[in-house]
């Protein structure tokens, strides 16, 4: 175990740094810290407890993320780490870091826009193509390759692209 030479605050920071490095299995350029999925790290009686929040209710990546956090902490010497899921407050794409948004764009996925227009039933969204930057784009399907993505197409460079939906 990472020994008692550390204060509890130092242990917590260490555990946070380890957990924060875990990546989303579907979008491996994003860490769970970038996504805003990592909510809290606590040390209880020397045992680490990590709180994460699910993105979409049925997102199958959550199970794997929990497992990856436990493994990463064990590799660093934390014994019996525990991962728990918190539902409230509900995760929102507004929690995604600016760094995360930049990484998404560079990866070829258009980052989520401000969530204000989500309620508009037939609302018009404008999403810039992550390849060429053109705003001359159109939606192909609201539901894409994973729960969090929609499928779009650029009418300028003609490339299809994923858009990380507002949530």
């Amino acid at each position: 175990m990472v020994t008692a030479a550390f204060t509890e605050a130092e242990l917590r920071q260490l555990a946070w740094d380890v957990a924060a490095q875990v990546v989303d299995p579907e979008i491996p350029v994003l860490t769970i810290a970038d996504l805003g999925v990592l909510r809290d790290v606590a040390i209880n009686d020397g045992r680490v407890e990590v709180a994460i929040t699910p993105t979409y209710s049925g997102c199958p990546a959550m199970n794997l993320i929990g497992l990856e956090i436990e493994l990463a902490l064990q590799r660093e010497g934390f014994r019996n780490p525990k991962v728990r899921t918190v539902l409230s407050p509900a995760w929102t794409t507004d929690w995604m870091s600016d760094d995360g948004r930049r990484k998404l764009r560079e990866y070829g996925i258009a980052p989520p826009q401000a969530s204000s227009s989500r309620r508009a039933l037939f609302g018009v969204q404008q999403v810039a193509c992550p390849q060429c930057g053109s705003k001359n784009t159109e939606v192909l399907s609201e539901f894409g390759s994973t729960s969090c993505k929609a499928l779009w197409r650029c009418l300028n460079c003609r490339e299809p692209f994923d858009y990380f939906k507002c949530h």
């Binding site: 979409y56 209710s57 609201e142």
Partner: protein, 258 residues
């Protein structure tokens, strides 16, 4: 079926969570039946995605029902080891997929309701229900937009797509009244500001449905005779067939995991 069904102590709160969980599971299962069969790839993905959202909502609600019940049951037992008469979902949601128009009209009627329902439930005095609602309403907003767009597309499309969409509305209309039904068990929870009173949702639901139907040049039936029974376990013949598929693995190999 090899494994006996479980018994559930249906206190009002357990029953309330079970009803919402069953709604999500049964509709989610119906949508999953489209996987590999949808008219085009994008729709195949859309229907599977929505099914997944619903399955996630069902899991949270079953887990909560099991916690509140405080016995030996868990989310898997509640889903896999209850018989037809123990299921509490809306009759609308167990209706067969039919053609694509039937699936979309069923989705549209329910998503329009669920979207209002979850938003109202976010104000529940029960913290867990409020948290589940806060997650679910984001998903139902997408489900509603998706199905609304299809209703307009089908209604305004060809004579064939219009006729099929109208037939689906006529067929499924009698199942919509059940969404707004309340019994004594639920009334007590409404008074305690835990459950949502669906009476207040009827007018906004009807207004929204009417607007989209009118844009789609489709007509809502005048009939107000409504089918009911799902909330108390009296189901159409279709649910038993659905459950025999959904539960076959756990009933045949109890406790199987992989």
């Amino acid at each position: 079926m090899a494994t006996a069904s479980i018994q559930v102590a249906e206190t009002p709160l357990v029953l309330y969570a079970l009803r919402r969980a069953d709604d999500a599971l049964i509709l989610g299962h119906r949508l999953s039946e489209w996987c590999g069969h949808a008219p085009m790839l994008e729709e195949d993905m859309a229907l599977a995605n929505m099914g997944l959202d619903l399955l996630g909502q069902a899991r949270e609600l079953y887990a909560y029902a099991a916690r509140v019940e405080g016995r030996d049951n868990d989310e898997d037992k509640l889903a896999y080891l209850r018989d037809v008469r123990q299921y509490r979902n809306l009759l609308l949601l167990e209706q067969p997929n039919g053609d694509f128009a039937h699936t979309m009209v069923r989705q549209f009627f329910y998503a329009g309701f669920a979207d209002l329902y979850w938003r109202a439930m976010m104000k529940s005095g029960d913290a867990t229900l409020a948290a589940i609602a806060a997650k679910s309403e984001k998903e139902s907003a997408y489900h509603l937009r998706h199905s609304s767009e299809w209703i307009v597309r089908l209604g305004e499309g060809t004579a064939e797509s219009h006729a099929r969409a109208q037939a689906a509305i006529d067929d499924l209309w009698a199942f919509t009244g059940e969404m707004f039904e309340v019994d004594d068990s639920e009334r007590a929870l409404i008074d305690a500001v835990i459950a949502v009173d669906p009476a207040g949702l009827r007018a906004p639901w009807f207004g929204m449905i009417s607007d989209v139907a009118s844009e789609a040049t489709l007509t809502l039936p005048k009939s107000d005779w409504m089918q009911q029974g799902g909330r108390s376990g009296r189901h159409s013949e279709h649910l038993g067939h659905l459950l025999s598929e959904l539960q076959s693995m756990q009933r045949t190999f109890p406790g199987a995991t992989w």
